[in-house]
Symmetry: C2
């Protein structure tokens, strides 16, 4: 993983510096909120993937940082709106923007970041970039909507769960990879391969995220174990565990989740049960399958430092702890 | 005004039909909310202006309806978010979307409409369209932010008021006109003239809107007189009236507005006072000045049915009752 670490160590300060510069240009009232969400410690997965694919075919004549950062802004905007909707009180280990600044500021700062992201994308003068950025934003919002509806209905199956995580997470990561490839001047086949890598990395990333929510270290994650459950989100680790208990009890639990009246002892029992299933469950296996598909997609690209980092990044997802 | 009425009568059903078609394609969960806001009776000023400028130089080879409707979607998205922020309970005479469907649905439906608007714009393959759509969205959000800050601070002067209405209203109307001209194939000078028309029409539209909030017929407007005052919005008719009362009393009223504890008798007194100033106040005169500037900008365009309608539309602003 040496290449991965070196690449991130080198690029993270450049990404942060561009983001910081853009945020500083914003009106004072929105700057603080935008700064709170965008400059808090994050993995910068989306901009990093854009950079990696942009450089995957050799040196570039265009500056890839604005595009890379447009993806991070779009992501931050969805986090701002998402946290208001969820009522989430923490994000990346610190108080959510809407708790610190109020829902009004968080919604408007999200709108500004969305618009800024689109403007930066449009400044490349490549219509495909604007088209895909708006497609990514739309998929994310639709995924959120579907997730909320599922949480409120008390009915969700594996198929719907997968649709939700494609929408709310994988599509934007697909977009980050695809647009990097577009900037690199790749042909259609390679652009599609980059998109395939992104979609699969996004799926496995979210699957592992949902697993970590139950099995991860609360302190390291910056949120308590079983947060999803408490918020009424039904994820695959839970769906799997529910299949191991009697149908009547399962229905009772799903109804309690939908009506947000899950008793604390039941919560603890579920978290414990899901934890135990852990690495043996289908979530882990599904994540591994998507990582394999992501790696296969990289066959379309020539050897390079970037391709090596992309291989390591996909593999890293399965071992990450935060 | 015959041409204006005929043009609107002919075009409104086409705009509505395109909007209806796009909204029907949305996911069921967001469709209802989007439909609620986008299909409620409205003036369709923005899409109409885009159509008019798109056709101002003769027949088009490109379909202008998607672009025109992208402007209406962007506007509807800002209304959805705006109503959540304001806590407004009615919009266009009916219950606001967030009251009918909940804030969560309203925020996400707004995000979807924003993304859809950008995607439709990007599909034209003209980077300038994407650039200006995002610029319009950003200006609107910044205007909202500035307006809220001003309302909470209890201090606002004419200069700041004008900045706010440029941001929250005039910039998007400017964008509608500008993009119509871009689609028409106009040269830079005419594109700028279209933008000037839009900015001035937008300013006068908002000035008259702020005046009607005090002086208009509550039933016809679909909201009670002095709604802005009750929401803590300080507009030019109020600023003008405040200058006619003793400074100490003025400061007391501004503080009460900022702290949202304006007593009902004082509210009634203010509304009555502002009403009386009415057409003699600077708001009306300023609106008239902007209409004149808008009309001047049309000198850059050749005679046509569209130019005639644009002239009538600008003049109509000063006499509108809703």
């Amino acid at each position: 993983m040496k290449e991965l670490r070196e690449y991130f160590d080198r690029e993270l300060p450049r990404i942060d510096s561009f983001l910081q510069g853009e945020v500083q240009k914003l009106h004072g009232l929105v700057r603080q909120v935008a700064e709170h969400v965008i400059m808090s410690p994050g993995k910068r997965i989306r901009p990093m993937l854009t950079l990696l694919f942009a450089r995957s075919l050799g040196p570039l004549s265009t500056d890839p940082y604005p595009l890379a950062c447009a993806l991070e802004m779009l992501h931050s905007a969805t986090l701002l709106h998402d946290d208001v909707l969820d009522g989430a009180e923490t994000r990346r280990g610190q108080a959510s923007a809407h708790i610190t600044f109020g829902a009004t500021q968080a919604i408007l700062a999200g709108d500004v970041l969305l618009a800024l992201s689109n403007r930066i994308g449009a400044d490349y003068g490549i219509p495909e970039i604007s088209r895909r950025l708006s497609g990514g934003a739309m998929a994310t919002a639709m995924g959120e909507i579907q997730e909320m509806a599922a949480a409120g209905s008390g009915v969700i199956d594996r198929k719907e769960y997968l649709e939700i995580i494609i929408g709310k997470t994988a599509k934007l990561i697909e977009t980050a990879c695809r647009l990097g490839a577009v900037l690199s001047g790749a042909d259609q086949e390679r652009i599609q391969a980059a998109a395939d890598y992104g979609l699969n990395v996004g799926m496995s990333f979210q699957l592992v995220d949902d697993l970590l929510d139950y099995s991860g270290d609360a302190e390291r994650l910056g949120k308590p174990s079983g947060s999803d459950l408490v918020e009424g989100k039904i994820t695959l680790p839970l769906i799997d565990w529910l299949e191991t208990i009697p149908p009547a009890e399962r229905q009772e639990i799903l109804t309690d989740i939908a009506e947000k009246r899950l008793a604390e002892p039941t919560q603890r029992r579920i978290i414990e049960g899901v934890r135990k299933a852990g690495a043996d469950g289908s979530t882990q296996k599904l994540a591994e399958g998507h990582v394999r598909q992501a790696l296969d997609a990289l066959d379309a690209f020539p050897d390079s430092e970037e391709r090596e980092v992309l291989i390591q990044a996909a593999s890293f997802i399965l071992t990450r702890q935060t």
